[in-house]
């Protein structure tokens, strides 16, 4: 395990070393391609001044709010659609038309409908998370082995007990796949939304740094983003492993 971790770190260290060497060789002006060490110094300063934390927290709150609401709604409606054929027949045609629309495609419409405020990025993240989580939940519920359900019925389980003790636990792996994928996607979407329409957050910091030619700040923000995406996915993976221990 220890050796595996070392093997995982080596390519990253090699990548950073090559980056540092190329930047120091000044094939490009350093203000366009700063060395890794320079980016680290900038990051330290951004953290020290509180700018990074302030913008990161803004983005994080939006992501969390939009993602949690999207997940709750997606799982809830997904359960209804997966478990009840009538609900599925009523909602599936509508959702299959709305799902292909990219989350950012809603932006102009939402700017007009709800204005440029905190509700806008939250709604964008909500829309981005809702549909994939919904369909992963429906798939999870529908892929539960019919025989397992039948046996639970012969053992006396009511419809509600079937759902809570058999169907939902067995649909969890699919639901978590949706949650993990969308956690990363939520970060990508919020950055794009902040770049275009919101004056605060990591996306806004990125776009203002671009106008000031602060590539070091852009790179520092991108590194923070990468870590945020990775941490979200890892946290959900950890939760999945805890809740579906029977699979591992």
């Amino acid at each position: 395990m220890k050796a595996e971790k070392i093997l995982w770190v080596i390519p990253i260290l090699a990548f950073l070393a090559i980056w540092e060497a190329i930047a120091r060789a000044e094939f490009f002006p350093q203000y366009l391609f700063p060395p890794f060490s320079h980016v680290m110094v900038t990051m330290y300063m951004l953290i020290g001044s509180g700018i990074l934390a302030e913008n990161f927290v803004s983005s994080l709150v939006r992501v969390l709010a939009g993602f949690v609401l999207g997940a709750i709604a997606g799982i809830g409606v997904g359960i209804l659609m997966g478990y009840n054929e009538a609900v599925n027949r009523a909602l599936h045609p509508i959702f299959s038309l709305l799902m292909p629309i990219p989350a950012l495609g809603w932006l102009p419409l939402l700017m007009l409908w709800i204005g440029v405020g905190e509700a806008l990025p939250v709604t964008i993240v909500f829309l981005c998370s809702f549909f994939p989580i919904l369909y992963n939940t429906v798939t999870g519920i529908r892929s539960v082995d019919r025989e397992v359900i039948n046996i639970a019925r012969t053992l006396g389980a009511s419809k509600r007990q079937l759902l809570t003790t058999i169907i939902l636990p067995l649909a969890l792996p699919n639901i978590f796949t949706g949650l993990r994928l969308e956690a990363g996607m939520a970060w990508r979407v919020i950055i794009a939304a902040e770049m275009v329409a919101i004056p605060t957050g990591i996306g806004a910091l990125l776009i203002s740094s671009e106008s000031l030619l602060r590539v070091d700040v852009i790179m520092a923000c991108l590194m923070v983003l990468s870590l945020a995406c990775l941490c979200s996915e890892k946290l959900l993976l950890l939760l999945e492993r805890r809740l579906t221990r029977w699979r591992f």
Partner: protein, 349 residues
């Protein structure tokens, strides 16, 4: 325990007008080839599939009852355990959903794990169990529901012979000690024979015959039953002479040595697959070894059905691999040695 009765039960494309009565506490075997509708019939009894006709438990129709209220213990072919629950939780599932207290569930589960010999597995998940262990867990889980009827759908079919043998003995012991009305499904004639009790032959969705196995073997109700039970050669017994555990029986002019259990012998049957033909003399004692002549044969894919005259008018059918038939250059009119295995002989008393 109640009796189970099916009256004119049909199911689209699968079951056709099935009538069956399994008595209170009886062990009944449903025998039939793959695709004959055995599992569908169990699903009908369990209330898991729509059907026409009437199912009665203890004389009362249960057609209006959904599966969760029929109180049927079902052990499916591949055990179908709940993968997200450990053995203890699997066995205690029915008790938990019925609202028993944790202490009551624990006590009953402990008792059932002991009864089925799997106490040491209680904290394992289904993925960590062998096929035999999974079947025991499925059985314990079905028994936990305190079922009125126990339905066993080929529970031994995926097991190795040794495990299958042990589980067979345990199944019979449990059924007897609990006096459970049980319907056991299998496609294997020898398994049905070993389980004992009455047997029903299901073929293309129809229950063709329902009786004791010797009666089915010696008096098949139709060509399909005769075919499914292996085209038995049936001989009438003229006289017999007991010799300890065996008896010499005069069957239509030939002297057969057969197993003897002290009861009168009326008929003797041998599966056509258990009659061996050889162009050369077969070594060993001159018991159940005869000379004959091939009077006809028919190739059926990889096997050959051979009709042999043993002397006088007595003829037997032997089914042998085509490879063996052609390898010995057997043909019509050829003289052969015919050997019948003692253990393969079935006796009707």
């Amino acid at each position: 325990m109640p009796s189970v009765e099916l009256r004119n039960v049909s199911n689209d494309y699968i079951l056709c007008d099935v009538n069956l009565r399994v008595e209170d506490g009886e062990f009944f075997t449903l025998l039939g080839p793959t695709g004959s509708g055995k599992t569908t019939l169990l699903n009908v009894i369990a209330g898991l599939t729509p059907y026409r006709g009437t199912v009665l438990f203890n004389g009362k129709p249960v057609d209006h009852l959904p599966a969760e209220l029929r109180r049927v213990g079902y052990v499916p072919q591949n055990s179908v355990l709940f993968p997200h629950l450990d053995v203890k939780a699997n066995v205690g599932y029915s008790l938990k959903v019925r609202g028993l207290s944790r202490e009551e569930v624990d006590e009953k589960v402990r008792e059932l794990l002991k009864l089925t010999g799997i106490s040491h597995l209680e904290s394992r998940y289904p993925k960590d169990l062998s096929c035999g262990e999974r079947q025991r867990v499925a059985l314990a889980r079905a028994l936990a529901a305190n079922p009125k009827v126990l339905l066993l759908d080929e529970p031994l079919s995926n097991l190795d012979p040794k495990t299958s043998y042990h589980l067979r003995i345990e199944l019979k012991r449990l059924q007897r000690s609990l006096n459970l009305t049980t319907i056991f499904v299998t496609h294997d004639l020898s398994e049905a024979e070993e389980m004992g009790g009455r047997v029903g032959i299901l073929y293309k969705g129809r229950l063709l015959q329902s009786s004791t196995l010797p009666e089915i073997l010696f008096s098949p109700s139709c060509e399909e039953v005769f075919e499914f039970t292996g085209r038995l050669n049936i001989f009438n017994c003229q006289s017999y002479r007991p010799l300890g555990g065996v008896a010499e029986v005069d069957c239509d002019g030939i002297l057969l040595t057969v197993p003897y259990e002290g009861r009168p012998i009326r008929k003797v049957a041998v599966n056509s697959k258990d009659i061996f033909l050889s162009a050369e003399e077969i070594p060993g004692p001159n018991v159940n070894l005869f000379r004959g002549e091939i009077v006809d044969y028919k190739v059926n894919g990889s096997t050959v059905s051979v009709k042999v005259r043993l002397g006088g008018s007595l003829e037997v059918f032997s089914e042998m691999p085509r490879e063996a038939f052609e390898g010995q250059s057997l043909s019509k009119g050829k003289k052969v040695f015919v050997k019948i295995k003692l253990k393969a002989i079935k006796v009707s008393t």
